[in-house]
């Protein structure tokens, strides 16, 4: 029974990674930018919930406010930090460095405003207890269900709607998409908004699961979500989900084996292995580099 709960735990934390990984994967798919600041959007979402709940706002408002605020934050970040570089066809290294800059900026800004210590989040959702092996797993199940729903919704959005088609076109060839009358600028903004909103959903689940937030929480979380996105095949929506769940399982497995001190190393070892043997990821399509 211990193993079953550990597996469920792994899937639960994997679902949170998945929500971040989906955003990573989407943004990378459209603008080929590793948005380092994406993990920190989760932190922004967490603190928004903290502030709103602290002002005695109802739960639904805190959740909606957090999602809205993160979407706006994502758009602002794109406009202020990336837009100029994306439009000028700046070298990729410059974009990546800017993204790192944004990430450090968000972390330190939160540290200045809220202090370095972690903040407690009051209990958010009261769910009927579902017991597996003496442990209440209802929150874990909630995480998994929400993540799966979000993934399905995103899949529908990208594959069936008009804006989804525009996103796919921009991802394929931004120049040609512009010639076909697609406003790539607004597509990119939309992508950032959706990605950040997904991260905010992740923030809601994170706050509900761990009941505390801190300014630096986005760093490692974002990195692991990125690893998950690469593992599953960056640019692929089901891939990001699959990668994140495998990552969560691998983490809980290292706990089961009593090697929790090596947990982070396991995650990055997975990344290194997949990059060496299947650089396109589990479900990704291998793209030949153009000469």
């Amino acid at each position: 029974m211990y193993y079953v709960t550990q597996i469920l735990n792994g899937l639960g934390s994997g679902s949170i990674y998945a929500l971040v990984a989906l955003g990573y994967s989407m943004v990378y798919g459209v603008v080929k930018l590793i948005n380092f600041a994406h993990g920190d959007i989760i932190m922004v979402g967490g603190y928004t919930i903290f502030v709103l709940l602290g002002m005695n706002a109802p739960l639904w408002l805190a959740v909606a406010g957090s999602i809205g605020f993160c979407a706006v934050a994502g758009v602002v970040i794109e406009r202020v930090a990336y837009h100029r570089l994306l439009n000028n066809d700046a070298p990729r290294i410059a974009l990546l460095i800017t993204a790192i800059g944004v990430s450090i900026f968000l972390q330190n800004l939160a540290q200045l405003i809220f202090g370095t210590n972690q903040k407690p989040i009051p209990k958010m959702f009261t769910l009927p207890a579902i017991r597996v092996g003496g442990m209440n797993v209802s929150n874990t199940l909630l995480n998994i269900v929400v993540a799966l729903l979000m993934m399905a919704g995103l899949q529908l959005l990208v594959n069936t709607t008009k804006i989804g088609k525009a996103m796919r076109a921009t991802s394929e060839d931004a120049g040609a998409a512009t010639l076909m009358g697609i406003n790539t600028n607004s597509v990119i903004l939309f992508t950032f908004a959706v990605g950040s909103a997904l991260a905010a959903v992740g923030a809601v689940l994170y706050s509900n699961t761990y009941m505390q937030i801190k300014p630096m929480m986005g760093g490692m979380l974002g990195l692991k979500a990125f690893v998950a996105a690469v593992f599953g095949g960056i640019g692929s929506i089901p891939g990001a989900m699959l990668g994140a769940l495998i990552l969560g399982l691998a983490e809980s497995l290292s706990v089961v084996l009593g090697q929790s001190a090596w947990m982070d190393a396991v995650v990055f070892a997975l990344l290194i292995l997949i990059l060496l043997f299947k650089p396109a990821g589990l479900l990704g399509q291998h793209m030949k580099e153009k000469v």
């Binding site: 590793i34 930090a81 100029r84 570089l85 700046a90 070298p91 990729r92 290294i93 410059a94 974009l95 990546l96 460095i97 800017t98 790192i100 800059g101 944004v102 990430s103 450090i104 900026f105 972390q107 330190n108 800004l109 540290q111 200045l112 760093g219 990195l223 990125f226 690893v227 690469v230 001190a261 090596w262 982070d264 190393a265 990055f268 070892a269 990344l271 290194i272 990059l275 060496l276 650089p279 000469v291």
Partner: protein
């Protein structure tokens, strides 16, 4: 007309002048430290600046010359620091005897680690290479936390240092010449046959390969050299500070080194030197400025607690540099002696000409 000088002669003159300037700076600073005019506070900053210069110049070898982003340099620095500190602690020789070999050992162990990382990592490039080096950097840190001989999260303490009351310039005497040598080496490497091969790979890897350059070999070479020198920087750091812990070599440290390279201009050695020195000195100087102007409450508070704002400022700087001057402050240019020398010759020539005309020219 100005007399033409042969290229070789001009180069010799420039090298000699540079050497003389470095020697004079070294000797003057050494004397000032020994005389106590440069106090312990300033001395610490200068020593740290030397260490950061070595780290920045070494990262410049991959990020500037090879054009690849590496985010795990703190990991190699950690390896160098631990190897070097463990060596001096375990052999128990007098530190003036064991420091130099320990730095070499730190560098070599870091280089071997770099090679082990590079063989798989350099199959990737661009974003993926950055992420995979970041991953390796984190793994190295997890090792430092968990291995039996690294002292866990507390790290190693009681590492000897050469600076003492009777010999205040003890560490400086090692750190400054090493920094000067690393700059010199990096410069000669950049202009050597191998260095030009590395530059060619940066410009266009496929074109370089089709011109017969063994790209794998030269990429490995740049990466391993870079790891070697940052390992030495780690050893220098361990013996300057006296305490090392895994937390000191985290992602933020990698970013800090990257910041020094990016700000100065990726590919510019003098740029890296200047920005490494400035970024080391600035936080400390601003903090002491905050103490001086304690009668202006808000400003003094900000400056006095500068450590809190440092990374915030760095991140804004990083974003602004990338947005408005994506090549860094100096770009790929170097500050050289020769153009200054030429300007001086021109100036002297013009003055002579003016004097010859009897001061008629205005």
């Amino acid at each position: 007309m100005l007399k033409k000088q042969s290229k070789r002669r001009r180069r010799d003159v420039a090298s000699l002048v540079t050497l003389a300037v470095v020697l004079v700076v070294y000797l003057v600073m050494q004397q000032l430290i020994n005389a106590g005019i440069i106090n312990a506070f300033l001395r610490g900053i200068i020593n740290l600046a030397c260490i950061n210069v070595v780290a920045a110049v070494s990262l410049n070898m991959v990020t500037g010359l090879l054009g690849q982003l590496v985010l795990g340099h703190a990991g190699f620095m950690l390896v160098g620091a631990y190897a070097s500190a463990l060596f001096t602690k375990s052999v128990g020789w007098d530190l003036s005897l064991s420091l130099f070999p320990s730095l070499l050992i730190g560098g070599l162990v870091a280089a071997v680690t770099g090679l082990l990382v590079a063989i798989p990592a350099l199959r990737l490039r661009g974003d993926y290479l950055a992420i995979i080096t970041l991953g390796f950097g984190e793994i190295i840190r997890v090792f430092a936390y968990n291995l039996p001989f690294t002292g866990g999260p507390g790290g190693l303490s009681g590492i000897g240092t050469l600076t003492s009351r009777t010999n205040p310039a003890g560490m400086f005497n090692y750190l400054f010449p090493i920094a000067a040598f690393v700059i010199f080496f990096s410069y000669t490497f950049g202009t050597s046959r191998s260095g030009r091969a590395v530059l060619a790979i940066r410009e266009d890897e496929i074109a370089a390969e089709s011109s017969g350059i063994n790209t794998t070999y030269y990429k490995l070479l740049a990466f391993v050299l870079s790891a070697f020198f940052v390992g030495i920087a780690g050893g220098m750091y361990a013996h300057q500070i006296g305490i090392i812990a895994p937390g000191k070599f985290d992602f933020n440290r990698s970013v800090e080194i990257l910041m020094m390279v990016v700000l100065g201009g990726m590919g510019s050695i003098t740029g890296a030197v200047i920005s490494a020195t400035a970024l080391t000195a600035l936080p400390e100087l601003l903090r002491s400025l905050g103490k001086v102007i304690s009668n202006i409450p808000v400003l003094a508070d900000i400056l006095g607690n500068f450590e809190q704002y440092r990374m915030l400022l760095y991140s804004i700087l990083l974003i602004c540099v990338m947005l408005f001057r994506p090549k860094g402050l100096l770009g790929r240019a170097e500050i050289r002696i020769l153009p200054i020398y030429d300007r001086w010759r021109n100036w002297r020539h013009n003055k002579k000409a003016a004097a010859g005309k009897g001061g008629g020219a205005t």
